[in-house]
């Protein structure tokens, strides 16, 4: 799990620098700081389980074993991208691994995950579906609809709300009423608020929820409280007239960085020492750079590749 979190961190840091260098065609929404949520959940999932994700979806994709090189190639819009350059950063998907995809519509993946959970229930093979969504999406009506129908039908669905403190550029407290985790109770859905920067707590909450879903006991709502270190979208300082949060606030939160906390825990339990952690970081950074470098000169998709995707 530590390696997977580090992989997500390094991959996203590379995307940040590629974006800054003006090398990426579209917009990029980074997951840095939220890695424990995706990894704590996906540690329990197999390829036969489904996830749906958000516009901030690289972390979920990588946590669910998505291919690193194919992700970089996709973000660069290349033919060897996981979606052939058709989707880009906001739509990385790999059905062979149950990754129904990142989604550019806030809350858009929730209905899809409920449908995948229905399919899993009909298949009767114990598979589950996880919908990752943000605090911003918790304001969408589909959350209520999904809680209601998944509770009624006991769907093997896990609703994971990643509350990172900001709904795009608005502080969550300005746009979201009450506690998100409290909403499940109204529908009879077991719900829990978790420190989303604590990998052990995330893993445990995920374990209980996924166990419940696999046993046929229906959905769970997990509110993972975390923090987004980067902006809503890379390059936002270029178009925002003023700051919506202070640098001091971001700095204060650095102490709760989930990777830093996990590393400290591993050291204190003598699982790894500082040098070993440094070595893992260096080694993963090198493999990330290798994958990212290889994607740079991949061919663009041929325009003829659109033809096979037409409805006719």
């Amino acid at each position: 799990m530590f390696r997977r979190m580090m992989l997500i961190r390094k991959a996203e840091e590379r995307l940040a620098s590629d974006f800054k260098a003006g090398e990426l065609p579209g917009s990029v929404h980074l997951y840095i700081g939220q890695e424990a949520v995706a990894v704590g959940i996906c540690a329990h999932l197999a390829a036969s389980d489904y996830i749906t994700s958000t516009h901030r979806g690289h972390g979920h994709y990588l946590a669910k074993d998505g291919d690193l090189f194919a992700m970089f190639a996709e973000v660069r819009g290349r033919s060897s991208g996981i979606c052939g350059g058709m989707g880009g950063s906001m739509h990385v998907a790999d059905m062979s691994k149950g990754i129904i995809g990142a989604n550019g519509i806030v809350g858009g993946g929730i209905g899809l995950a409920a449908g995948a959970a229905l399919a899993a229930q009909l298949d009767g093979n114990g598979a589950v579906a996880v919908a990752f969504f943000g605090d911003g999406a918790s304001a969408q009506g589909v959350v209520s609809e999904a809680l209601n129908i998944s509770a009624l039908w006991k769907l093997p669905l896990i609703l994971v709300c990643e509350n990172n403190g900001y709904s795009e550029f608005s502080p969550t407290k300005a746009v979201i009423s009450g506690n998100i985790a409290d909403r499940g109770a109204a529908y009879g859905v077991p719900s829990v608020a978790v420190d989303g920067n604590d990998i052990a707590a995330m893993w445990q909450a995920a374990h209980e929820a996924i166990d419940r879903a696999r046993s046929g006991d229906g959905p769970t709502l997990i509110e993972a409280r975390t923090y987004r270190f980067h902006g809503h979208v890379e390059g936002e300082a270029g178009f925002l007239k003023s700051k919506y949060r202070t640098d001091e606030e971001v700095d204060e939160r650095r102490d709760a960085d989930p990777i830093k906390r996990f590393a400290a825990e591993l050291v204190s339990r003598k699982v790894l020492d500082e040098a070993e952690i440094e070595e893992i970081s260096r080694e993963i950074g090198a493999s990330v750079d290798d994958a990212a470098d290889r994607a740079v000169n991949e061919p663009w998709p041929d325009v003829s590749s659109l033809e096979s995707l037409e409805v006719r």
């Binding site: 991208g81 739509h91 550019g104 209905g111 899809l112 409920a114 449908g115 399919a119 129908i149 096979s308």
Partner: protein, 321 residues
């Protein structure tokens, strides 16, 4: 037409156990099209849902992505607007966005159109709006026989289909083909041959179109009636072949004129069919207003046989350019 649709659903659910159906009150079935399915195929495969179009349409996408053939019944066509996010932003997009990794065998069914004093929020026929989306077949039958064969093809299609049924034609009987008859999506039919003018009539407009054609035959005007059956992708060839023969085109569409299929077909005629045109193209559409409740108002808004016949008479009197 309802009995034909009901037949198609029974046959396809019988044929393929991965076909599932859900929607509001599909067990009770207010229109009768899903009647008996729950008793026959069980509550797992035929599910009554809460009144939650947003999540229903999203679930259709998720369940289809995960391997099922999903029929999502949205009841009245106006409720497609409530479900529109998942249709427009997910169902039509995923195949392209994932480079074909995800194929979505979904039929979104709904009953629409005027003629029954269902008033503004239960009388729209949104085929033209849906046809603008790109990744979605939009199928709408003009008679019972076509309804069955088209729906069976729609259920077997690997891409999303919206299947719109005209409410005003539900009780209509008519020949229904046997279980083996499939009508391909994207193919129009000529429902009456003629030599003087091509009358393209979509869905419920087939009936008044054929009435108008019969009336005009007595006056010596020989009308050819075409039913597109699928409005996206549109069978341009059948329409253009007919236009080549007659040189005149009238399109009757229950949509409001702004953004209608009538306009789209007129544009095709003005472009690809320009050299065949001997007269201006006439579009007969619903008035650009929400549908009114009171029967005389509603009747005046939606094209009928008299308006169609008048439109053709006027056109036939005009000298060729």
């Amino acid at each position: 037409m309802i009995h034909a649709i009901n037949d198609a659903l029974f046959e396809e659910m019988e044929r393929d156990e991965r076909v599932i159906l859900f929607g509001e009150d599909v067990g009770t079935s207010i229109f009768g099209d899903t009647r008996g399915l729950q008793q026959k195929f069980g509550r797992e495969r035929v599910r009554d849902t809460p009144i939650s179009e947003t999540v229903m349409a999203g679930m259709a996408v998720g369940a289809a992505a995960a391997g099922y053939r999903v029929i999502c019944h949205l009841m009245y066509a106006n409720f497609i607007y409530t479900a529109f996010d998942a249709i427009a932003n997910q169902a039509t997009k995923l195949r392209l966005m994932t480079n074909g990794q995800i194929r979505l065998p979904i039929v979104f069914m709904a009953v629409g159109g005027g003629g029954r004093s269902n008033s503004a929020q239960h009388s729209d026929y949104p085929h033209a709006a849906l046809a603008s989306l790109g990744g979605l077949y939009v199928v709408t039958p003009g008679n019972s026989g076509d309804a069955k064969g088209l729906l069976k093809s729609a259920i077997r299609c690997d891409d999303p289909v919206v299947f719109l049924q005209p409410a005003s034609r539900g009780g209509e009987m008519g020949d229904v083909p046997d279980a083996e008859t499939l009508i391909p999506l994207g193919k129009a039919s000529v429902t009456k041959e003629g030599a003087d003018v091509t009358l393209v009539a979509i869905a419920a407009m087939q009936r008044p179109a054929l009435r108008a054609a019969a009336e005009l035959a007595e006056e010596g005007i020989d009308v050819e009636v075409v039913d597109p059956r699928t409005v996206f992708p549109l069978d341009r060839a059948t329409i253009l072949d007919s236009l080549k023969k007659t040189g005149r085109l009238v399109v009757v569409d229950e949509a409001r004129q702004a953004g209608s299929m009538a306009n789209q077909i007129a544009a095709i005629a003005a472009g690809e069919g320009f050299r065949h045109l001997r007269a201006r193209v006439t579009c007969i559409t619903t008035r650009d207003l929400p549908i009114a409740y009171s029967p005389p108002l509603e009747t005046a808004m939606i094209p009928d046989a008299a308006r169609i016949a008048d439109g053709i008479r006027t056109l036939m009197k005009e000298r060729a350019a």
